[in-house]
Amino acid sequence: MVRYLYALFPGLVGAAIIHLAIVFLLPSLSANSSWNFVRSQAEILQPLSLTPEAVGENRALKFDPLVESALCRFDLSDGAVRLDAVGNALFWSVAAFDTTGTAFFSANKRIVDSDDFDLIVLTPEQLRVARQINSSMIEDAILATTSDVEGFVKLRVLRPDASWSVASKEMLDTLRCEQINF
């Protein structure tokens, strides 16, 4: 009996360790994570509009129904990526995510002071190269640097009601993602 009581303490310590291990591993291992969804549903550099058809009813019901969005998956190992969209949306915002689903960059229409959106995602090394050759591309666009080569960018456009549907759809339809080399 006493042996079992002595076993309780290491058992609880072990439980704490396993608990923490699971908590820390979930972002990389969860099948339901946003990155896992992107990796399985989106082709690299192919814009994906997040309609109920594309994401499934379960995910769609959790979205803000007055916001439309699209995303683009990227892989920087072959070069930097440029994303742009044009439109007359009331409000748009953009965020770039790494493979743990954390946003390493975000911006919106007011911060950028532009109806259109022009973003370059690149690694620090690629930025160095671009600066060395004085690339004009990095002057016009907003820059998001990351050391993680894989990730995705999500564009959100506010659509307060049906009268804004055309504007929001147009902006999402113009979303382009392409690889660039400086």
Partner: protein, 194 residues
């Protein structure tokens, strides 16, 4: 055998306890960085590098796309001002002010944050652009499954409800004094069967 059994006992506690507690917590607990104002609670750090491990684990399980800090902050309310859970067969008025933001949306969901779908075009969501204002630029929005005039949202037939107020382009998370942040109040007007 006598030596092995206590060891197996400890191992069983470790595995069962660790897995069960991790599962339970990461299903419900959205992390430590809650920002609570009145009935509303938000997790402004959810998208950022500052998110704690429990927040990250929670989002990995729910699979939601978090809001970047320059995008916005989502506030959730499950109770009215008296602490009673929000339900579809009670009427409420949401009134007052919101923190400064470029725009905001208010939607009614079930307790799992799924937006309520009503028949015809009775939306369960409204954007700040479409909210009729009072003379002092405050607002009130009625939540009821009976038709109302003015700003009105239909919560559907029956069940537990939740309100999600999403502020877009806001600095609410970096406001230093919590007492300066004003969120709308949620007052219950009355209830009816169905």
């Amino acid at each position: 055998m006598n030596r092995i059994l206590p060891f197996l006992f400890a191992l069983a506690i470790a595995l069962a306890g660790g897995i069960y507690s991790a599962d339970l917590v990461t299903k419900e607990f959205e992390g430590f960085a809650a920002l609570r104002i009145g009935q509303w609670v938000a997790y402004p750090q959810s998208g950022s590098d500052n998110a704690d491990p429990y927040a990250r684990a929670y989002y990995a399980r729910t699979g939601q796309f978090v809001l970047g800090s320059a995008e916005g902050v989502a506030f959730i309310a499950d109770d009215d001002a008296t602490g009673d859970q929000l339900v579809a067969n009670c009427d409420y008025v949401i009134s007052g002010e919101t923190p400064a933001a470029r725009s905001w949306t208010l939607r009614i969901t079930d307790e799992r944050s799924n937006t309520i779908r009503n028949p015809s075009s009775q939306l369960a969501a409204i954007a700040s652009e479409n909210v009729l204002r009072d003379q002092d630029s405050g607002f009130s929005i009625t939540v009821s499954n009976r038709t109302k005039s003015g700003n009105w949202l239909n919560p559907g037939d029956a069940g537990v409800r939740r309100l999600i107020l999403t502020l877009y382009d806001t600095s609410v998370a970096s406001t230093t004094g919590i007492s300066e942040i004003e969120m709308p109040s949620i007052e219950k007007l009355g209830c009816h069967d169905g």
